[in-house]
Symmetry: C2
DNA sequence: GGCCGGGTGTTATCTTATAACATAACGTTC
DNA sequence: GAACGTTATGTTATAAGATAACACCCGGCC
């Protein structure tokens, strides 16, 4: 039963990691996904995607707008929103509803239900891929007679790095 | 193992139901919850709660603002937002992040993870109470080392009433 | 009275998002 | 390579959602 790993046990990256690699991987994957679908990853869309991946903190549309303004001539809000909508339609970014912000998708190409941990201390958001959560959600909604289109789970809290140190030897 | 019902199998109300009863129940419960906590359910807060319960469609802050203006003298946005924030802190309403809107909580007093089905056709939102989803979410987040504070599940789709009729005899 | 704190009123402003229309770039066909 | 339909972007204006900052009121308390 070729069961892929049920979930990623470490959704939050280390504080220090080779983030340039995150970015290049994301851009490479995006190119592949778009090519496979015949979608056009234009210059602006690519730049917006790159800016979304600037960090693991969700980026607001106007943050991206401002950053984009530094790279090229000023662009107006609709341009950014259109690019973000395109990227979301391709499954390349997720929108974090509770923050009105966007993060790059960790698993583009694989359809999945968005599951996010949002740290209210450091602001990072990590995407989980817990098959059990997804299964529970899909089952619950099916039992409610609901035709599911786009489920998302968002949890606000404290990431491992931002939690006060445990008193006892509780790992 | 006094297991409460795992979930409500019919989160969406019938089109026609005695909705006044929904409202009065909600207001009664709110009074009890506030009394128990020593929180003051003032006139404005109560009116805002009543307006949130006007229907099972999530109400935007400015919808409430407008409706409130019809009942009493004009109130400014901060008044409504403060009332909504109070109600949310008391667990009397939930915010639907993906809609920037608010719905009354079906189970005030019982701490729970918000689970919502949002129909993109009729606009209604139904709160689920699926213990298995909640358990899966809590477990997944705990395994990720995440200190959980406020998990929510939101699913966009079509409610049973709004789905195209099934072709075959598939219930 | 004088003080405090919670709740509300008021004004102004900020952030987020989209409507509507104009223009440019691309791909195809002949 | 001109004409055409299609998709993407530019531009202007505005809608929609949310909050900051400060004033005021009112009840309880000393
Ligand atoms: Zn990274
Ligand atoms: Zn953190
Ligand atoms: Zn009702
Ligand atoms: Zn519906």
């Amino acid at each position: 039963m070729a069961r892929t790993r049920a979930h990623n046990p470490r959704p939050f990256k280390r504080e220090k990691h080779d983030h340039r690699r995150c970015v290049t991987t994301a851009l490479d994957r995006a190119a592949k996904v778009c090519a496979a679908k015949g979608a056009r990853l234009t210059a602006i869309r690519r730049q917006v995607l790159e800016l979304v991946w600037q960090s693991h903190r969700p980026a607001g549309a106007y943050d991206i707008l401002a950053a984009l303004g530094r790279k090229r001539d000023y662009v107006a809000p609709p341009t950014v929103y259109r690019a973000l909508e395109f990227l979301r339609a391709q499954g390349l970014v997720h929108r974090i509803e509770s923050l009105n912000a966007f993060v790059g998708c960790e698993r583009p190409g694989e359809p999945h239900c968005g599951q996010f941990l949002i740290c209210r201390a450091c602001g990072r958001a990590a995407e989980m891929a817990d098959g059990r959560i997804e299964a529970a959600v899909r089952r619950g909604l099916a039992e409610a007679g609901f035709a599911l289109e786009r489920p998302t789970v968002e949890a606000l809290g404290l990431c491992p790095d931002c939690q006060p140190p445990a008193e006892a030897g509780n790992a």
